[in-house]
C-alpha cells in the first residue's frame, strides 16, 4: 500500500499544489484524505489548484524545536479554492499583512527534522505575489 497523500508530494515536485474535492457536497478540503471532513462522504477526488491564496494570519517564532532556526515566519494561507493550510513563509515578518496575496510553491527541505518516508521530497513555502500577479 502506498501512502494516501503521495500524489500531493509527487505533484508538488513539479510545482503543482493538489487538494481534494468531494463529489458529494462539492466542497474542497486539505489535507487530502479519503473521507470528506465536511460531509463524511468517500467519493473524493484529487484536483489541481493554482497554489494562490491570501494570507489569513501569520507569526514569527523566536524559539522552537532544535531542528529549526529559532526565528521562523509561519502563516495560515487561505487558498483561492477554499481550504486553509499552515505554511512557512519565505518573506520577512515585517513585510507581511493579513490579506496579502501569496502562492504555495515547492522548496527544498533543509531542517534537521525526520519526515520519515518524505525524506527525499520537497516541502512547500508561501511566497508573496505582487498585486499584479494575484
Amino acid at each position: 500500500m502506498e501512502p494516501y497523500t503521495q500524489p500531493f508530494w509527487e505533484e508538488l515536485e513539479d510545482g503543482t499544489v493538489l487538494i481534494h474535492a468531494c463529489e458529494s457536497c462539492e466542497r474542497r478540503f486539505f489535507p487530502p484524505s479519503p473521507v470528506c471532513p465536511h460531509c463524511q462522504a468517500t467519493d473524493v477526488e484529487w484536483v489541481e489548484t493554482t497554489g494562490c491564496g491570501k494570507l489569513f494570519s501569520f507569526t514569527r517564532t523566536h524559539a522552537t524545536a532544535a531542528a529549526f532556526a529559532d526565528e521562523l515566519v509561519v502563516g495560515t494561507v487561505e487558498l483561492d479554492d477554499g481550504p486553509k493550510l499552515l505554511a512557512p513563509i519565505d518573506e520577512p515578518y515585517s513585510a507581511l499583512e493579513i490579506g496579502a496575496p501569496v502562492r504555495i510553491e515547492p522548496t527544498e527541505y533543509t531542517a534537521d527534522h525526520d519526515r520519515g518516508w518524505l525524506e527525499d521530497y520537497p516541502f512547500f513555502t508561501a511566497r508573496k505575489l505582487e498585486e499584479t500577479d494575484a
Binding site: 532544535a66 509561519v74 512557512p88 493579513i98
Partner: protein, 387 residues
Amino acid sequence: MTGAVTPTVVGVGTVPNGTHSVPERDLALTVLRDALDEAPIELGAVDGLYMPAPRPWTQQGFFSTYLLRVLGLDVSQSLEISTGGTSGGHAFHTAVSDIREGRVETALVLAVERNSTIDTTGPYFEYILKSFDAEFESPIGMTVPAAYAQSMQRYVHEHGLDRDDLAEIVVKNRKNGAENPEGLFDDAPARDEVLDARPVADPIRLFDCPAPCDGAAAILLTGTEEPSPSGITVTGTGFHHEPTHFLMGPDADPTELPAVGQAVDSALDRADNAIDDIDVFEPYAPFPHIEAMITEELGLAERGQGVDACLAGRTAPDGEIPISPSGGCLGRGHPPMVTPLLNYIEAVRQLRKTAATQISDAERVLTTAEHGHLNGVTAAVFAGGCD
C-alpha cells in the same frame, strides 16, 4: 439534576505551583494526604482513581497502577487519560459520572506534573511538535504559541482592536495570581512591562504565555442523595469537540470558540442554570485574547468586546463577571495536567468562602478546560457553600 446521586466534593489538596525537587509520587501522596485530612472518610473507602496520564518525561510510568499498589487500594474503576489540557477535565468528569451512576462511591481525582525536569527549549518543543499534523505541519517547526499568535493576530485584525489593550488581561490575572499563596508569582507586571517583554511568537510576548511549572492536586468526591446547602456539589458537566485540530479544520474560525459555548451550555443545562446564575468564572484561558474570546462565547460581551469587558473592570474580582480570581493559567502558573483541578479547587474555595481573592456571595462557579486551540473543551458547574 437528573441523577439520584449528586457528586459532592469532600476534600481537596494542592501543593504550590513552582519547582519541586521530589518525585511525582511524593507530590501525589502529599496532595492526597491533605485531601483526606479535610474529608470525613478513610483512604480505604476510595473505590475509584482518575488521573491525567503524567507527561512522557515523568520517570515513573504506569503511574495509576503504581499508585494503587503504593496505597494498597482495591478499586472498581481506574482511569489514566491523555488528551492534552483536557486530561484533568476528562478524569474529573468520568469520576463525576461514575458517582452519579453508582459505579463508585468515593472517587479520588489526582493530577501531578513536573516541568522542572525537562529542558523547555529542546525536548519539550520536540514533544509539542508531534501535536500538529505530522506530515504537513510538524515539519514547519510549529509551536503552541505560534498557533495562538495567529489567532491573536486575526482576532485583533477582524475586530479592529488595539493589540496593546490585551496586556490589561495579563495585568489583571497576574494581580490576582500574586494574591494566591499557591501561585507561581509574587508580583504583577505593569502594562508596559507586559508589552516590553521578550517576544515568543509575534505578537505574543513572554507574559502573554502561561508559565510552565510543577504542581499537583487531589479532589475527593462522594455521592450524596440529599446534599446539604453547605455542601459543595458538582451540579453540571459538559464536553464538546469541534471538527478542528489547532487552527485547522472544515470551516475553522480561530477567532471564535464554539466548543466553549457548547460545553458550557451542556453543563449549565445539566445544572439547571443560566449563565447569569454564575457568580465566578475560572476558565482555562492560556493566552489573553482567549480570555476575551471566552467572555464573548459565553455571551458576557458582544463579539470583539471581550477586551473591553476587562478594560471596564467587569472581569475584575469586584466586577460583575469575575474571571480567574485565582490568577488562572496566566497569573497562577501552568502545569497543564493539573490546571483543570486547580480550577475546580478554586471553585470549591470560592464556595467555602476561603479563596485568597474571595468573590462575595459566591454560590455558583463555572470552570473550563481545553486542549489544542480550544478544539476540545470540558466545563463544570459547582454550587453550594450556603449557610
